[in-house]
Amino acid sequence: GLEERFTKVLNKLGKKKKLNERNISDGIREIKLALLEADVNYKVVRDFVAELKDDATGELVIKNVNPTQMFVKVVHDKLVDFMGGTNEDLKITGKNASVIMLVGLQGSGKTTTAAKLAQFAKKKKEKSVALVGADIYRPAAQDQLEVLSKQINVPFYGGGLKEKPEKIVKGALKQYRDQDVIIIDTAGRLQIDDEMMKELEQIKKQTKPDEILFVSDAMAGQSVVDVVSEFDNRLGISGVILTKFDSDARGGAALSIKRVTGAPIKFIGVGEKIDDLEPFHPERIAGRILG
């Protein structure tokens, strides 16, 4: 992990127990490498490292008895701070019906996460929930969400592929206006697909969501910054869910997304089952990104 790498760097510089400008810059280089290997975006790493240099060359680090541990702590704390301090909850307003809309690239885990969120709202928050399948493109997308809805005994509204998504969500909001929460699953799409992004704008206009959650998987690479910026510019992202955190992906996308949108990361997906959803805790993810 990062601690071992720092130890190697500082040991290379001989028996000096104290840090100075020169060996801090070697430590900074190790951080840059570690963050890039963790898939944090190149420009986000540059910014992070520049801020870190200012912090680290302050009195605090130089005077400390165990410079390696102190340096790792400075980096770790800065990372946690970058990723938004504490965990933020799901916005369920208490007046019917709170609408949550899930958006993102193809295959990121939206449909599975929609069901997980419904389960979370039902079991942990004791709310009534309805699931809406607004993906009319992917073969058997509606079937997929319907099967999951049945598993957790939550009503499903799908429009049977005969209606456009804008009409589907309109019908769903009418039929389930007495539920506490309505969760809308949308089709995966590229942020550069103007027609499909317009469709999301239409769905937003139609449903006035309380939450628009961007769903990305934890293994996303450098381009996630371009993706989430565009979704944010066009729709306004109120929160983020990162899926597939049960993989061994380092998850640097978490830092990139948070830096670029400022939106809180609310949950992480940690498996394929409906209960595999956890609230996001920055300290744990910071440790994982640093390796």
Partner: protein
């Protein structure tokens, strides 16, 4: 001279940014730069355009260009796997469509019996491109579907059998063992065939795509890659470390969600797109 040195530094900084933001990975980027610098005479540095061209050629030469081929006189087995959501099922639909257009008799096996509506998704693909499919009900054992599909492929004298599997991460030991078991069934049950194991990778994935290729390869042979979602803004640069360190060829790229959105991977176009 100092000005050449400074221009060179700028050039290498630009290259580093291009490669890293293209998901080549910092480790491989630094290795490639190191090796290029050591082979490039500083006093014979030509203008930046020529240097970029030279650099691109080095990258192109790193990538194996291998043609995907079907056998004309034995049954072809294509075993498809990869982590969750990368595009396996969709890529199989595209492949089946491609081979059908080439006049082959194609059968698809729906061996993802785990995920909600997975078999139904593949069945809808089969129906839309008019290709035969073997599937069971959800919760059936993937091995059982595979046995049935193999029998059907032989009995119906199919040219190609394509096997879809459930998404799985390489750090899930029990799921990797299941994959190994399915691979062994194929190896044991069909003696005279041409079998190709293809991993599907998502072009949006960062460094983990390399780990996926490496770890899957430690469990079963990986003969080639389908790089899906190359129509996104991601560059799929992970192909470089995979080529360099694992030597697995990329056979196809997915460039969209429809049946025709599959192209032969071309390393020259790929490197040009990276820049």
């Amino acid at each position: 001279s100092l000005s050449i040195r400074n221009e060179l530094d700028d050039f290498y900084d630009d290259i580093e940014e291009i490669l890293v933001t293209g998901d080549v990975g910092i480790e491989t980027t630094l290795e490639i730069l190191e090796s290029f610098k050591s082979k490039t005479e500083e006093d014979t540095i030509e203008n930046q355009e020529n240097l970029t061209g030279k650099f691109k050629q080095v990258l192109i030469d790193t990538i194996p260009q291998k043609e995907f081929e079907l056998s004309d006189n034995k049954i072809n087995i294509i075993f498809v796997f990869g982590v969750n959501g990368v595009g396996k099922t969709t890529s199989i639909g595209k492949l089946a469509n491609l081979f059908k257009e080439q006049g082959k008799r194609v059968l698809i096996a729906a061996c993802d019996t785990f995920r909600a509506a997975a078999s139904k998704q593949l069945a809808k693909w089969a129906y839309s491109i008019d290709v035969q499919i073997v599937k069971h009900t959800e919760g059936a054992s993937p091995g059982a579907v595979l046995y049935d599909a193999i029998d059907a492929a032989i009995a119906r004298k199919m040219d190609v059998l394509i096997v879809d599997t459930a998404g799985r991460f390489h750090n899930r030991n029990n799921l990797m063992q299941e994959l190994d078991k399915l691979n062994k069934i194929l190896d044991k049950k069909i003696q005279d065939c041409k079998k190709q194991n293809l991993i599907v990778l998502d072009a949006n994935t960062g460094h983990n795509a390399f780990v996926q290729a490496k770890e899957f390869k430690e469990v079963i042979p990986v003969d080639g890659i389908i790089l899906a979602k190359l129509d996104s803004t991601a560059k799929g640069g992970i192909v470089l470390p995979i080529s360099h360190k694992l030597n697995i060829p990329v056979f196809f790229a997915g460039i969209g969600e429809k049946a025709e959105d599959l192209i032969k991977f071309d390393r020259i176009d790929f490197i040009n797109m990276l820049f």
